[in-house]
Symmetry: C2
Subunit: 113 residues, 2 copies
Amino acid sequence: MDKHIALAVFESLSSGLRLDVFRLLVRSGPDGLVAGEISAALDVTPTNLSFHLKALTQAGLLTVTQEGRYQRYRADLPLMQKLITYLTEECCGGNPECCFDISASRKTADTNP
Amino acid sequence: MDKHIALAVFESLSSGLRLDVFRLLVRSGPDGLVAGEISAALDVTPTNLSFHLKALTQAGLLTVTQEGRYQRYRADLPLMQKLITYLTEECCGGNPECCFDISASRKTADTNP
DNA sequence: TCAATATTTCAATAATTGTTGTACTATTGA
DNA sequence: TCAATAGTACAACAATTATTGAAATATTGA
């Protein structure tokens, strides 16, 4: 992952509202949600939500598909995975000894041994 | 990791300059760098750098120790590890099937099989 | 066809964040 | 002790980002 892509992701998730939107869509699974459902769930005006959905989509964190007059948004999990890989490499790049700790934290996050 | 801590990290890394500072300090290893070295390396005015160092430190991404009249900054790798864990859990929480992909990306990032 | 619905675009404004220069504090070394 | 150095704090300003309301676009269902 290129640095400027990582930066775009950080910029996107640096707003509490956008982070809420993204987390909501992650929890909503593969079906995602249409804009109105997000607006209702988070109690944001449609105009403001649209502004933030656009930012998240342009950063690649969301995908949109039109369904009639609805716009369905989904979280782009693969990009998040790439970000995790990037962060791991950034941390370990010059510091091999740091990788041990990261590998330990991965074990903690894992469900199966 | 609490959501508002993750948000603080995202906010910190949402500036190109702050991301550069953090990456520089990660690459600099356990000894870190003093403020003047960072200022010279990135060609930022001391005042402006101080502003961003403060932001990074308050978010917990950097630690500072005084050495005489110098201030030595180091990247806080454990926090980054916690962020990676958080992101992994956020992504996989409601979507177990997503974990397979993340586990695949982890293998790619791993150096040993 | 047409009123209702879903969402976005645009312009105006509010709020936040980034940058610069000057002044200040603390420490060193002569 | 005192001039030089390292860094931060503060205030002013510039620039960016967030929020709102009104208007526009597109789609549906009656």
